[in-house]
């Protein structure tokens, strides 16, 4: 490549408005699709009826928020949301564990194959995940066909008491392999000399993993943990929507699914907006909290 002498800029470069005017339409898209909906929060303070202009709807203040907090649904929805989130936080140890064990595998080829197999579920849509679990766990699916040999069977997809752990299992199936990648990369980045030195000192492989690999993964784990706190009341909608059915509905309904059901199914727009806004505000507060915590613990922020 020809080298061009890069002259040291003496004065501050002149503003180039061409750049700005090219960026403008793209930023207009950001504004239209991300910021204008934020103004829609106004909806939760007025009594909006479908077909009526929003601005002429009567102001009702915090009525819909009061309704939410006093509603009989509230504690149920919050319990569901928190239960799922607690399960996810508990499962945060699975990706690093997966990465450490994968690293202990001897065959390189086999390791690669396992990684490919485990990350695949991340790339199928939630509808497909549902279809897969339906196929495997339905009354005459493979799991029950095997259980029948032992004289038992179970309605996995419509069992009220199993909803939390079963959905968490589904989530783990789709996500653990993918989330492990970041830890696999972190392991690859650990200084190999540390292991060599430890081996010279007679440390067993388990000891090496425990005293070198685990501490090496801790910073990443901490970030994941804090991010999980930040999204404690926001655990996604699609999964619960596809697995929803009349029998487990009361257990699987999270804040987001509740917003969807109230808003787009019952067309209770103002109330649903209030629910959504409550969720967003709590999320932002938690995110800042996690960010502040990160600053204190790690000395750097996560966002």
């Amino acid at each position: 490549m020809t080298t061009v002498a890069t002259s040291v800029k003496v004065k501050k470069p002149k503003k180039n408005w061409t750049y700005f005017f090219i960026a403008l339409p793209l930023m207009a898209l950001v504004f239209a699709f991300s910021y204008v909906p934020l103004m829609g929060w106004y909806l939760s303070f007025v009594e909006y009826t479908v077909g009526q202009p929003i601005l002429s709807s009567p102001w009702v203040g915090l009525k819909f928020f009061k309704m939410l907090f006093q509603s009989r649904d509230f504690s149920r929805i919050m319990t569901n949301t928190s239960m799922f989130s607690l399960y996810y936080i508990g499962m945060l140890v699975l990706p690093p564990l997966f990465a450490i064990l994968l690293n202990e595998l001897k065959g390189r080829r086999f390791g690669k194959f396992c990684q490919t197999a485990a990350t695949l579920p991340n790339f199928v849509s939630w509808v497909l995940v549902y279809s897969v679990f339906y196929a495997v766990f339905t009354t005459d699916g493979v799991v029950n066909e095997i259980l029948k040999l032992f004289g038992t069977k179970q309605k996995w997809l419509s069992s009220k008491k199993d909803v939390y752990w079963f959905q968490s299992f589904v989530w783990a199936w789709k996500n653990v392999g993918w989330k492990a990648i970041i830890y696999i990369a972190a392991i690859a980045g650990i200084d190999q000399e540390l292991y060599e030195a430890a081996a010279v000192d007679g440390a067993s492989r388990f000891k090496q993993a425990w005293h070198i690999t685990v501490p090496g993964l801790l910073p990443t784990f901490l970030v994941m943990f804090l991010l999980a706190i930040g999204s404690f009341v926001r655990n996604g909608l699609e999964q619960y929507m596809v697995f929803d059915n009349t029998i487990i509905h009361k257990q699987i309904e999270t804040l987001e699914l509740y917003t969807y059901n109230k808003g787009l199914k019952l067309l209770d727009y103002s109330y649903a907006t209030a629910v959504g806004m409550f969720q967003s505000v709590v999320s932002i507060v938690l995110l800042f909290l996690a960010n502040g915590l990160s600053k204190v613990v790690r000395g750097e922020t996560i966002i």
Binding site: A23, T119, S125, V132, W178, Y195, S204, R205, Y269
Partner: protein, 294 residues
């Protein structure tokens, strides 16, 4: 690689570890194989097919592919994947490139405005109503326009472009090349690795999307995507099976709701399954660049 001697406990651990990963592989891959063999089995005895198809048949595929809605949904899915991915790559590349320009007016302000969108959103209902007021509900545009600028992709691109040598661009500038010439002739060709990564992310996202179809285009039959059709079929397998039976009297095999579900699942998954192993490294690359930054 961790170094150390092979103790007996270590050997036991190794064997157990390999077994554990075989189990994980089975858990991840067998369900797809199970659906695969189900879709090739005669519905009458399909429930007993666990390893290989029972009474091998292509009838499930024939009756499903004969339905007009599948062909059309496939067309819509391909159309949105191709056009959506192209526009997302171009939009995000352009914006990411512009954000590397220190002398762009309002650069910091716009960059902050963009990154905030990763954390704050209007939520489901306001978004729905706003889209509706734009008139993009029940149009193809709702699949494309909201996805053109993605904060995460823009950050990835900006980081990448910043790492490119500035000299080539500077010499082109001295030669009097305009912004678009530099962008298409210099920046795009030099950014192929990051373009590949983002194109794959965007296309997987487009291919898998069904929720926007369900929310915004629920009343537009001619805009249904393959994923959404699968969602519908999952919920309406009974009535669709009935339709198929009425259309094909005296069929040799039994088409069941379950067979219908399995077959359309397979049709929807196959494209992802075929390209995934080849694209995996690009996907991982994208994840890791983002992790360094985040």
């Amino acid at each position: 690689m961790i170094v150390g001697r092979e103790s007996p406990t270590r050997k036991i651990f190794n064997v157990a570890n390999v077994l554990l990963f075989i189990l994980i592989d089975i858990m991840c891959l067998y369900p797809l194989w199970y659906i695969f063999i189900q879709s090739f089995s005669d519905g009458a005895r399909a429930a007993h097919a666990l390893v290989l198809p029972i009474d091998f048949t292509l009838e499930n595929y024939r009756v499903i592919l004969e339905r007009k809605d599948i062909g059309h949904a496939l067309f819509i899915s391909v159309a949105r994947t191709v056009s959506g991915t192209t526009l997302t790559v171009l939009g995000c590349m352009m914006l990411g490139y512009l954000f590397t320009k220190q002398n762009m007016p309002f650069r910091k302000f716009m960059y902050r405005m963009l990154t905030i969108t990763m954390y704050v959103g209007g939520g489901l209902i306001p978004t729905y109503l706003v889209y509706k007021s734009y008139g993009i509900n029940n149009t193809f545009w709702v699949y494309i326009l909201p996805c053109i600028v993605d904060a995460y992709y823009v950050i990835l691109i900006k980081t990448y472009v910043e790492s490119l040598p500035a000299s080539v661009e500077e010499s082109a500038m001295l030669d009097g090349a305009g912004v678009f010439t530099i962008f298409t002739r210099i920046i795009l060709p030099m950014s192929l690795p990051i373009i590949a990564t983002i194109a794959i992310y965007a296309s997987v996202g487009q291919w898998n999307a069904w929720f926007d179809n369900h929310i915004y285009n629920i009343n537009s039959k001619d805009l249904e995507t393959l994923q959404y059709l699968l969602y519908k079929y999952m919920n309406e397998a009974q009535s669709i099976t009935q339709e198929i039976k009425e259309k094909n009297p005296g069929m040799r095999i039994k088409v069941t709701p379950r067979g219908v579900r399995m077959t359309i699942t397979m049709i929807t998954t196959i494209p992802v399954l075929c390209i995934y192993p080849f694209l995996q490294r690009y996907l991982i690359k994208g994840l890791l660049i983002g992790a360094v930054k985040g």
